[in-house]
Amino acid sequence: MSENAKKDLTAEIKDLVVEFRTDYGVVQALNGLELEIERGKTLGLVGETGAGKTTTGLSLLRLIPNPPGVIVSGSIKLDGKDILSMGDKEMQAIRGKTVAMIFQDPMTSLDPVMTVEQQIAEVIKLHEEGGQAEALKRAREMLELVGIPGSRGGEYPHQFSGGMKQRVVIAMALACNPELLIADEPTTALDVTIQAQVLEMMKGLREKYNTSMLMITHDLGIVAEICDKVSVIYAGRVIEHGTLEDIFKNTRHPYTEGLFNSLPNLEDRQAELKPIKGLMPDPSNLPKGCAFCPRCDYAMDICKTEKPGRTYRSDTHYVECHLYNKDNIQEGKVKSR
């Protein structure tokens, strides 16, 4: 599975630092985040609430609310172009066209006072040729594509159910055939049965349009279902990254392990659930060393004082943890004490 050649990246984030500067103090949302999304592939971004997943997604669109959010350093490249140095106009041309985003809560993601077809047509009109009528026609086609009768396009969001709203949001995101689709927990707010439908549909559409995708989720099931690669994010940093197999079969980081242990095991219902103890550290007051250290069963003295560096298990798999070095990284799962 090794990749030698220069990777064809749709998006690349390097050493991104984002702070939220509020009256209550400075919150470190992203702390040197690194991310790569390959063309046509799906990257899963996994982590707890508040780890910085959504911020990562928004930063790709440069939509971090400012104030209070500030991109302090780092680079974000789309198709090799640095978007941080772009003007507002250029950025607007990218949003919805090159990169589209599906937001977490379909209930609130649609403008309540505009018909859905208009909301879809709006993005088409912005980025594609043709007038209002053409855009509306396309909008209805998009609705059909996501399984909503085009005739319902003239209705308002409140007339749709949650799952249908999410389909509308997806239709809107895919309307201009974006190169990169960011899906921020697209199914969290939906019923389980609807979740599966929506997920299936997204899979189908991704294949059809060969879209790259960033799947933001805390649900490892979804990751297993849809992703090619996975980045595990904790306190604004990717602490483990690898292919689906790397992460699922060769879990290294104690946090990743904790995530898996939190899942009930269907085969062995007697097995004890081992949730990760404690809560995410206060992002405005991160520990000096490893951010996960206070919750880590394997914490050592060094973890408290020094940030761990990156250790590669393979070309595709790396982990940031003091437990590992070049020598022991291949040794299998997290070593136990």
Binding site: L58, L61, L63, P65, P67, D88, M91, Q92, A93, I94, R95, G96, K97, A100, M101, F103, Q104, D105, T108, S109, L110, D111, P112, V113, M114, E122, V123, L126, H127, Y156, H158, Q159, V169, M172
Partner: protein, 309 residues
Amino acid sequence: MIKFIIKRLVALIPVLLGVTLLVFFILDLAPGDPAKTILGEQARPEDIAALREEMGLNDPFIVRYGRYMFDLVQGDLGTSYKTRDPVGEEVWARLPNTITLALTSTVVAILLALPLGIIAAIKQNTLFDGVSMFISLLGISMPVFWMGLLLILFFSVKLGWFPVAGADQGIKSLVLPSVALGFMHMAAIARTTRSSMLETIRQDYIRTVRAKGLPEHEIITDHALRNALIPTTTVIGLQIGQMLGGSVLTESVFAWPGIGRYMIQSIQGRDIPSVMGCIIIFAIGFALINLLVDLIYGFIDPRIKAQYK
């Protein structure tokens, strides 16, 4: 839609009935004899007695109220104790003035408030935001009659730009009262506009729109404003209602010949039919404005329109 309007108008009837009973009752508590007030300090008892009889003041409360309501349902607001003219005529003659003042000051208030509130919200926490919100607070905090007197002092007496009082110089007469009243209401509207804009701007759907690549000004005009207008419309409606009441003070500072001033005069003269007439007109006006506001909601917010079945 029409059904909705009719339903609302029908629902208005019991409220208005309650209003008449309430006000009739309150005014009945008033000490002082209308007949005595009309005839003045020098009146003789026999004249007062004769006038009381003529005005039907000797009947019990229920009889008087019943008689009043009987006339009212026939569209007769009664006869003014003071002028002996039909109250309907008295009120009707002054109504246009009050409506004009309320409308112009609403226009003044909206024209000032919307841009102020929107820009303040967009430039939240900037100097502009601070200054405009401070101005709005001043508008809320300054008693309107004080504001009126200061305006007269400055613009009429010192500068001589506008007439001191009255309504006989057309638009020139209208400027100061509208500004005084409008400024007060501008404040409330601007603040609501700002806060609802702020709330709207933070909504997920605005983020969605942003993610579509819509230019910022279009986001504001096409999405944020339209949504923010819903609470703003409520406040504007409430403000017009308040303006009807608040015009009482403005009208007396600027000698504006409207219903508000008429009502005060009537109250002082214990001219109960006139006071009743004014209150009923105000209550109807208030209700109609609220109805209008609800209809406007329908145009802005399809969720509400759906309920107008």
